[in-house]
Amino acid sequence: MRLRLPDLPAAEAQLFPEGRMAGPMPWVIAVMIFLTVLAAAMGMGVSRAATGVAADVAGRVTIQLIEANSVRRAKQAQAIERHLAEQAGVENFQRVSAAEVTALLEPWFGKAGLDQDLPVPMLIDVTLRPGAEKALPQLSEAVRALAPSARIEPHGQWLAPLSAAMRSLVWLAGLLVVLMAVASVAIIVLAARSALNTHRATLEVLHLLGASDPQIARLFQRRLGLDALFGAVIGLFAGSLAILLLGYRFAAMGSDLLGSFGIGLAGWLALLAVPVVTAIMAMLAARLTVLAALRHML
């Protein structure tokens, strides 16, 4: 595979034959960066989704009344609503209409199964003011005093397992990114060594013709840095395309939970830094490898 890259300045242009130094290195880097970008995006996306979900459900509570007697149930509901209206910590509350509850239950009972005799639980959605979650135990007690059969369920409680799973995913993604970075560094170091072996004769001649160590190191540095940059940009491009496509798919699903999948501006900036960091790593590896080899010569 031959590469066309912006080449070295004229004076050093032909010291390394085009593409010969490169070999498969840029393409391996491209694959690594592609995978790294996907893992990083997964981590950032899931982390953002988890934060979003947590913020959405924070302070949201559903009160369930499963009193069988419908007259008593209505009375209790009114009492609870009066109580809620007096609480400073309650931002708003809303009774879920019977039709909505029926719709919720339909999958389990079918249209025909629901008749007037069957007690349908009454639901009240409550939104607490930010910071008022601490008052939840008192609220529960007060509600239970008004209606012994009432159950209070903070939404966060249902989501706890989901949150835990999401956190695990974020950690896993982080671990993948670290592993991939380590592997990329190893590849870059190997590429630097192989470049040195391929061009050892050139390096020796340049040395004997009076080229200084930094002069020779710069040649290798530029070549390897450009190769790595080239691979990393391709990997980033492919990875970004995959992320955008994935985000589009999730948006098309219209799910409340996953509809917001994205990595945000900070995420994109972090991904843009990946090729730059890769190129710098490659330059560093090339420099250190070449300088070490030159130190063995007089």
Partner: protein
Amino acid sequence: MTHIIQFENVGLRYGNAPETLSDISFSLTRGGFYFLTGPSGAGKTSLLKLLYLAQRPSRGVVRLFGDDMVTMPRDRLPDYRRRIGVVFQDFRLISHLSAFENIALPLRVAGHKEAAIAQRVTELLAWVGLGARTDALPQTLSGGEQQRVAIARAVITQPDVLIADEPTGNVDPAMALRLLRLFEALNQLGTTVVVATHDAQLMSGVGHAHTLRLNEGRLA
């Protein structure tokens, strides 16, 4: 300062082997023309390596341009190497560079301008009879042609010292004489020339030349 190169009691040992060079002491005068001769394996290439700073001596003093090369910090050696042109016994042409690019290399290393490089290299290529092979890669050149490229690369900077290790081993007597004239022309311009050779005919070709004779690592 008339002594451009001085060796004092220089010894060279490769690894644990017995000394390849022993008790070498001599001085070369600036602007002189020197032949280094001796049987194969006598240590000619080894002595030249000390001269062109590819090797440090195991003992003794090597002085170039009046400065002690043994104690000289490594990062200052490139400046000295740029004042020395070398024709290696095995040529050491860079295989992926054309004849032109190989000859231009010392000028590039020294940071000369492209326009000046092109003119000087083209002139010299014509001088060594390779005007038509400018863009040829070394492996497509004959042994003698490669040798001429190697010589051109050594003299392109008009160095203070020219060191040539068997520079005429692969060319016919007529071409050998022509190359010798090139060395003489350079010598006339002030370059100190050191040529290692077995070729007695070549040595008799330069009237004012001095001869150093090496035998089993010692100067005779």
